[in-house]
Amino acid sequence: MPIQVLSPDLVSKIAAGEVIERPASVVKELIENSLDAGASQITVEVRGGGITLLRVTDNGCGIPAGEVDVAFQRHATSKITSLEDLEKISSLGFRGEALPSIASVSLVELFTQTADDAAGAFLSLKGGEVIERMARGRPRGATITVRNLFYNVPARRKFLKSWATESSHISAVVSEYALAYPEVRFTLYIESRVSLRTPGSGSLRDAAVELYGLELAQELIEIAPNDQDVSPKVGGLIGPPQAARSNRGYMSFFLNRRWIRSPVLAYAVEEAYHGLLMTGRHPVAILNITLDPTEVDVNVHPTKAEVRFRNEHIVFAAAQKAVRAALVARMPVPQMEVPAAAPLKLSPLPIQGVLKASPSGDDNSVDSLFPSPTSHIRPPTSQIPILRVLGQVSNCYIIAEGPEGVYLIDQHAAHERVLFEKVHSQRARQQVEEQGLLEPFVLEVSPQQQDILNAEVDNLKAYGFALEPFGDKSFLVRSIPAVLATSSKNSGQGLAEALKEIADALAEGRRTGWEERIEASLACHGAVKAGQSLDPEEMRELVRLLEKAAMPRTCPHGRPTMVHLSASQLEKEFGRR
């Protein structure tokens, strides 16, 4: 086949394929246009999974009647004019590819009016060619209707999933933008039903109420933006550890209000939750990152979902630090759910607010519909109250009484937390305490563990393990960290287990968190076990140490150390109130 230049039609279809992958991509591009146009209300209608019909209506600035034709030409945009602009992009779109791409694979109708024009413009295109044009009036804004998507690209159409799946993708896109722009009222109709409606009050929490439900939204912890004019600035809402989800779908990242996919940020957030979540659980997080536009390249990918940071590690550190700080500052004790009695479930629904709302339809009245949920939440503190030990249950849990009811404390998890912080601080001060062993212990290891331990002898020494190579695949252990020495079982087999666990932790690579894993492992092996009976003095001591801990709510592996049965729950349960 001879080399030839492709026809413009084919080129536009290929280009469209990069930007327009599925109906949700159309919605994304159109919403971005609306947002760039300064809209305060955006309505999205979806029929037939967005394949049959997609309509985005906004009240933005609109397109002047004289420019509607140009808008559908490739690389035509009003958002940037020069290369310098590209360096510091502040609008969501800038490539001038969206409209032509959409137009080349569907039937598009544009109906728009600016504040200045006397009449609006209506334009209908099929496969990128104008087939109808007229002047019609409408309120300021723009409506773009996309019908019969991919009618001329059967290949792409074949790969679309079911209507429901495509709708859910659209819903996800709208949700992300609703979180990114809480001041914009988003309404999403799927098959003529309202699927999502955000108040547009400007409060991120209000938007979260709509997306995540009142219960979760109330629990979300606000990240106070760091005041200094440092870049990057991190703000947003994060979920408390007990509201963790089993997938990463609840992490949303917005860079300069652009929704992005970022494995780096996801990792930063998970790192911040390190030691608070059980394995396989992922946090809920809505993170707004504000960064000097010159520090980031958004022009990496046609859909701009991925960005490139100039200083990735700085962004990583800032996000991780901000999330961690918010977590440490406000971590509530998990409330005990009493399953038997349904009425006990607390749900402070703002019903009065709904009844009071004026039906005037005024945008601002929406605020009163959604009284700030924060007012219902008593600010939880990181520290636990002073507790009085009452006793022990099943040789496993300590029952304690506090000012606000009864606390059940998992003795192993609590002790783990205490020891973890102790080891950590000793290590930080380079004052790890070691206990000599009466008789050196011979540790038998696998070849892989041997290599690791050989390489890490100095690091282990820093944690209090004095290891000497002792022939093939064995080591002589001469001393152990003092935290392990509290129980004599750690002089024998228990010690071998602890060391092998640590060797395995080191083998997983020292990328990050290996120190914490060693510390967690030491804490776990040094801590009292479930099933060990404690005398009252020991329990009091443990609770005293836990009260002093910096993060007393969870063990280093993320399990809660305590559950709380509040006095009011008890009263309700017994019908006193």
Binding site: L437, A482, V483, Q493, E541
Partner: protein, 375 residues
């Protein structure tokens, strides 16, 4: 079975054997106590399958027989009875008790079902004064390990050789060795490991005992019997090899301090209050004196973010000035069982084992592994 005995004696006997009653057992009958007539006396027995305790109560036996009844029920009931004669009569499986105007019937379980208590007739046989045995156990048994990942360490190693009985116990961090005298020499050398718990139970019975104690080790070295005047304790022995502890005892030292035992104990207890928040670490510094001033031993503890304290006692220090850190618990444990007025502390480097021995008694050595700290 029909007999009469004094309430005080019965209550005492039940209190003693009650220590061996199983508390959490999969074999329900071990919650019972065995009552049996035996050579004109009433024999009470209980076992948790690890140790078995028997006690003989004098009484007037009218008719022989045996039964087991719930230990807790019988003990609690007998304890509340007036101090008078108790009549016990067995009718089928129902035991009737009568004391003055109080009466009770309790249903029992056949004595045949009770786990047999091993009878140890031959094997190694040794006699020791009960006072000496009591002393030996108290100085050693506490050093045994509490948990059983290395079962031999939960026991006390007992070695019979000539007229010596050497008891030794160690967990991973300390070692206690005590040499006691037997009343008569034994043949050859026999070493067994006796559970520390069994020895603790035995040592409760010893103070009341004036006669000597007979120790019999079964020929298979699987059980040991301690025979007292009115009581017997049979214990399973722990199988395995006890560490060769003699090589763990340092043979020399560069610094030896002799201090008053109770002053040392007091100062350690004071330091341990601060040491609570610092892994129990107490730091000892030995300074030798001049001709005019005595040497001294300072004991300090330091807990980050809590505070620190320091105490000082007089010491006769020979050798170089030294320092060493120990877990306060290990020091207080050993110092509180040393009866002698003075104790010698022998150390070499901050990382080599420390040795404590009472002054004026050759029989006892205690080795404690130090903790390595930043000074």
């Amino acid at each position: 079975m029909r007999l009469t005995c004094r309430q005080e004696n019965l209550a005492k006997g039940l209190g003693i054997v009650g220590r061996a009653v199983a508390t959490r057992s999969t074999l329900p009958i071990t919650n019972n106590v065995l009552l049996a007539t035996d050579g004109g006396r009433l024999k009470l027995s209980a076992t948790n399958l690890e140790i078995a305790l028997s006690y003989w109560v004098g009484g007037n036996i009218e008719e022989d027989g045996a039964i087991t009844v719930p230990a807790r029920l019988l003990t609690d009931f007998v304890n509340t009875l007036p101090a008078d004669n108790v009549l016990m009569a067995l009718n089928g499986k129902s035991l009737k008790l009568q004391c003055l105007r109080f009466e009770a019937k309790m249903s029992g379980v056949d004595a045949e079902d009770f786990p047999p208590i091993p009878k140890i007739a031959d094997g190694l046989d040794a006699r020791i004064a009960s006072e000496a045995l009591h002393q030996a156990i108290s100085q050693v048994a506490f050093a045994a390990a509490a948990e059983d990942t290395r079962p031999v360490l939960t026991g006390v190693h007992a070695e019979f050789e000539g007229s010596n009985l050497t008891l030794a116990a160690a967990d991973g961090f300390r070692l206690a060795v005590y040499k006691a005298q037997l009343l008569s020499p034994v043949e050859g050398k026999t070493g067994v490991i006796i559970p520390a718990k069994a020895l603790s139970e035995l040592s409760r019975l010893l103070p009341e005992q004036e006669e000597s104690v007979e120790i019999t080790v079964s020929p298979s070295k699987s059980q040991v019997l301690f025979r007292l005047k009115d009581a017997e304790l049979v214990s399973q022995l722990i199988q395995g090899t006890f560490p060769n502890y003699s090589q763990l005892i340092p043979q020399s030292s560069t610094c030896r301090a002799v201090v008053n035992t109770s002053e040392f104990l007091k100062a350690t207890r004071t330091a341990s209050i601060f040491a609570r928040d610092a892994s129990g670490i107490v730091r000892l510094v030995l300074t030798s004196g001049s001709e005019a001033t005595p040497g001294k031993l300072t004991i300090s503890a330091r807990a980050e973010e809590v505070g620190e304290n320091m105490g000082e006692i007089d010491a006769m220090v020979k050798g170089e000035a030294s320092k060493i850190a120990f877990n306060a618990k290990y020091l207080t444990d050993v110092l509180s069982v040393i009866k002698e007025g003075q104790v010698a502390l022998e150390i070499t480097t901050p990382s080599s084992p420390g040795l404590l021995r009472p002054v004026g008694s050759e029989g006892y050595v205690h080795v404690v592994m130090p903790m390595f700290v930043q000074w």
